[in-house]
């Protein structure tokens, strides 16, 4: 066991971690930030995606102790300062980009990384970028629409390839 400190959503946070403690366990169990989900625990589904030093990572596939001192952003840090939904979150609501909501934290974090790298993606680029985020409910079309809307672009009535 050792103490690990990271800046999480702008605040310095400290919690214990064993060698094997995953970032997602440290966030969920250490800090009680349960917005980040574990869908598969086998690095496949993307429900656990958070940002570490600005880049998307699967929080189930990185060790907490390795990230001592890192800057982490989770879904809890995506709302606006007044607590209202952030642009991407609002677009997911407006375009029905979620049903059960289990994949949504990871989807929103991946979408945020995409829009940072590529503020006006094409629909194909959105689909390609979200390849590592699996959704069992929506069929993806409305997620793609939400991301297009969040980027300030026109949303095609029927999503294509």
């Amino acid at each position: 066991m050792g103490k690990v400190t990271m800046t999480v959503n702008g605040k310095s946070r400290t919690a214990e971690a064993e060698g094997r403690t995953l970032l997602v366990e440290w966030l969920r169990e250490g800090l009680r930030l349960t917005g980040t989900h574990v869908g598969c625990d086998t690095s496949q589904c993307g429900a656990c995606v958070v940002h570490v030093d600005g880049a998307p990572v699967k929080a189930c596939t990185v060790l907490a102790q390795e990230l001592d001192g890192a800057e982490v952003r989770t879904i809890e840090g995506m709302a606006d300062a007044d607590g209202s939904l952030g642009t991407i979150q609002q677009a997911f609501q407006d375009y029905h980009g979620l049903q059960c909501g289990f994949c949504t934290p990871g989807m929103v974090m991946s979408a945020a990384s995409l829009l940072e790298e590529n503020p006006k993606p094409s629909e194909a680029e959105v689909r390609h970028y979200l390849e590592g985020n699996i959704c069992r409910c929506t069929g993806y079309h409305n997620i793609v629409k939400a991301v297009m809307a969040a980027s300030g672009q026109e949303v095609a009535p029927v999503a294509a390839e």
Partner: protein, 264 residues
């Protein structure tokens, strides 16, 4: 996952000393090793994280014009840095897994692991890259020694990979969408003194050079010449629920022809 002690060396020498002692293993980006440990297919007393060693991260060009990629450099960095100077390599790196895997996964980890379906081994073998470790330089032809097997000794660390840049090259990946690994993928590289063709995902011996195609393409660089070749033999090819050996052998030919057509 069984517990272990995580060590965080700051230099290659420190890491090598830690790896030399007892039951220890290197951790690159963890995108293969952590899932393997969760499945309890790997366990160790001490895990030596290479991510704090600045000397093995980043990219540069050497005096011979080769591009040099630190062993701890992420797939995302390679995809970003080489879009212009070695587009086939950048495109390969940019199609590994998904963005989150590319943020963490490293070239050193991919080569050391030598998964029979991994992408980087094909680039290293086709480009005739040199794998530099903390103790020696290993040519790609000697490095890959069969499925999940390399020339690396216990505790040896890949510090850098040097790629000669071909005149033209391309990587054609027939993706297996569930895993996002290749079902079969082919890297072709055309140099002034000949063509090299490396195949991944197909053989149960891991990455290999398709020498018939290399000879034919060195004489006549065209997709048509590939169409005239017999596909490599199906025996020894991976056969699983995603595709049998004959199908994979056929894909080798199709992917090679596409790579030649698309080479830049």
């Amino acid at each position: 996952m069984y517990d272990f002690e995580l060590l965080k060396p700051a230099t290659i020498d420190e890491a090598a000393a830690m790896l030399a002692e007892g039951d220890a293993q290197a951790l690159g980006g963890g995108q293969t090793l952590i899932p393997t440990m969760k499945a309890r297919l790997a366990q160790m007393d001490r895990l030596v994280a290479l991510s704090g060693i600045d000397a093995i991260r980043g990219v540069c060009t050497d005096d011979d014009g080769r591009i040099c990629i630190g062993g701890g450099t992420s797939h995302a960095t390679v995809a970003r840095e080489y879009a212009k100077s070695y587009p086939a390599l950048a495109s390969l790196a940019g199609r590994i897994g998904d963005p989150a895997v590319r943020s963490r996964g490293t070239i050193g980890g991919s080569l050391a692991n030598n998964d029979p379906s991994a992408c980087y081994p094909a680039a290293a073998l086709a480009s005739n890259a040199t794998i530099v470790t903390n103790t020696r330089d290993i040519g790609a032809d000697d490095f890959f020694q069969g499925m999940f097997t390399t020339a690396l000794e216990e505790g040896e660390i890949i510090t850098e990979v040097r790629f000669p840049v071909p005149e033209k090259a391309a990587y054609e990946k027939f993706i297996q969408p569930a895993s996002r690994f290749p079902l079969v993928a082919v890297f072709v590289a055309k140099f002034a003194d000949g063509v090299r063709v490396a195949v991944t995902g197909a053989s149960s011996d891991g990455v290999f050079r398709w020498s018939e195609a290399e000879q034919a393409l060195s004489d006549d660089w065209s997709a048509d010449v590939v169409a005239g070749l017999a596909a490599p033999g199906a025996e020894g090819m991976i056969s699983d629920l995603h595709g049998d050996g004959a199908y994979r052998a056929h894909l080798v030919k199709v992917m090679t022809a596409r790579a030649v057509k698309g080479a830049v």
